[in-house]
């Protein structure tokens, strides 16, 4: 499914709300400050679209809450802010290196045929890729279930697409607007100077 215009609208509204919060708060003079503020509000807006139903959105909200708790609380406007922020995600993090090492030792004792080896290698490769996917998707470490992981990835990709589309259109409009007014001002300058 592709991002719908309804989703884009909602995202824009929420993002705007987040940016409004920043307006009186800090005097964001440095570019990096502003960038961080923009990105954080955009992330929380994207995550709040899902209303805490998906794992990645919860993880994302928690992650941004560590950076700017106030923003998150305001943006979620207390509907589920408390529960989302305070709820601890299940720490099901097993140390994969240790597990891998023990598996390797165990596997060494088994006698393997060629086809089995190939299959085992393929499986290992896929496991590595899924681990990579877990690293990319927020909250992925907590998804031991592969089905869940893929489902979350699907949802995450769609939301990311929405975010990118909206941000891109805003940025294009802003940049073009500035460029046009600059050109226009140049023209005015010339006409007045004449």
């Amino acid at each position: 499914m592709q991002p719908t215009s309804l989703m884009k609208e909602e995202f824009l509204k929420k993002w705007q709300m987040g940016l409004q919060i920043y307006r009186p708060l800090i005097d964001n003079t440095s570019v990096s400050e502003r960038r961080k503020a923009i990105k954080l509000s955009a992330d929380v807006a994207m995550a709040s679209l899902r209303r805490g139903t998906t794992c990645w959105s919860r993880a994302l909200i928690q992650k941004t809450a560590t950076e700017n708790n106030f923003l998150v609380r305001q943006m979620l406007s207390g509907i589920k802010a408390e529960t989302l922020i305070n709820k601890k995600l299940p720490k099901v993090m097993c140390h994969r290196k240790i597990v891998r090492r023990s598996k390797k030792n165990f596997m060494r004792r088994k006698s393997r045929s060629v086809s089995e080896e190939v299959a085992a290698k393929a499986r290992k490769l896929i496991k590595r890729k899924t681990q990579g996917l877990r690293n990319v998707v927020p909250g992925g470490e907590f998804m031991n279930n592969d089905v869940l992981l893929i489902q979350e990835t699907l949802d995450y990709i769609v939301s990311l697409q929405t975010q990118v589309n909206v941000m891109r259109s805003i940025v294009d409009a802003a940049e073009a607007g500035i460029e046009r007014t600059a050109c226009y001002l140049e023209k005015l300058k010339f006409t007045i100077e004449d």
Binding site: K13, A37, I157, V164, R180, L185
Partner: protein, 345 residues
Amino acid sequence: MDLTGAGPCREPPGLESLHLGGGGGDGGFTALLELPPTQAVELLHFTDPSPQAPAAAVAGIGLDVSPPPPQLLHGYGALTFPSNSALLERAARFSVIANGNVSGETTTTTTSSERVKTEPCETDSSQRLSPPNNRCGKRKEVDKKVKSSAKKKSKSSEENEKLPYVHVRARRGQATDSHSLAERARREKINARMKLLQELVPGCDKIQGTALVLDEIINHVQSLQRQVEMLSMRLAAVNPRIDFNLDTILASENGSLMDGSFNGTAMHLPWPHQVTETEQSFHHRQLQQPPPPQQQWPYDGLSQPAWGREEDQSHGNEHNSLMVGSENLMVGSSSLHPNQVKMEM
């Protein structure tokens, strides 16, 4: 469920008994058991050519062209007897172990996109499986299936609430206990979702193999995340302060977001009502005024309020210094109050 008029010389005589076996295939296993093994194998051989032309076969031709019910057997699957929709069903998925489910589904045509999507994957896997299964005695497997079908029924019936159908297939020689069945169901689910992912991510359709597809997905997600970073950086650079004119951009952008509709009055947003109205008035005035005609209206939303803002801040002499003021506004901070803007040129 019309086996009448089946293909010439293709329908083994034993099929008659299958007909009588019952609709949903509940009697199917027992019917199959009555067949001599050779005939069963023969039946099963018909399965192979079928997947290629499922839809066409079923479309209007009926069962005459395509091989009869054995398709659905695979030596173990439910004996869903061929109706037209059943064949189409079979094209989509073969071995539904829970017989009752299949009979329920044969009535529905493959209209749901989910079914169609998993069609190719299912045909592939079944095609792979059917040849090895053909050669062996089916009875053993069928026996196993009879035993496990009861177990499976409850499981699949509950899974049916979530998914329209369940594909679980016990492979030959593999255990048919609930564990492996569950694992198989899980694998099917994963494959179905991977298909969806492949469609979502551009360029993934042509890739074969899970590992490469996963690679593509990871790359796609990473690139999207990087794009977000880049865009936020650009946005931060464009507007010196965060409190940039999002209000006006919102008004203008909503048009473009909603398929480029110029008329902002079509917006459904509750809160920027007054914003949109002032925007509209801006645009109207903008159109009547001499400024460069090639300006498109979304961008006017940006320029006009800048001038308007100038009005707010320095009442009186802005007309002369409008240009300079606008320059300052563009460069300096900009907090828009679109409600208060008055365009007086």
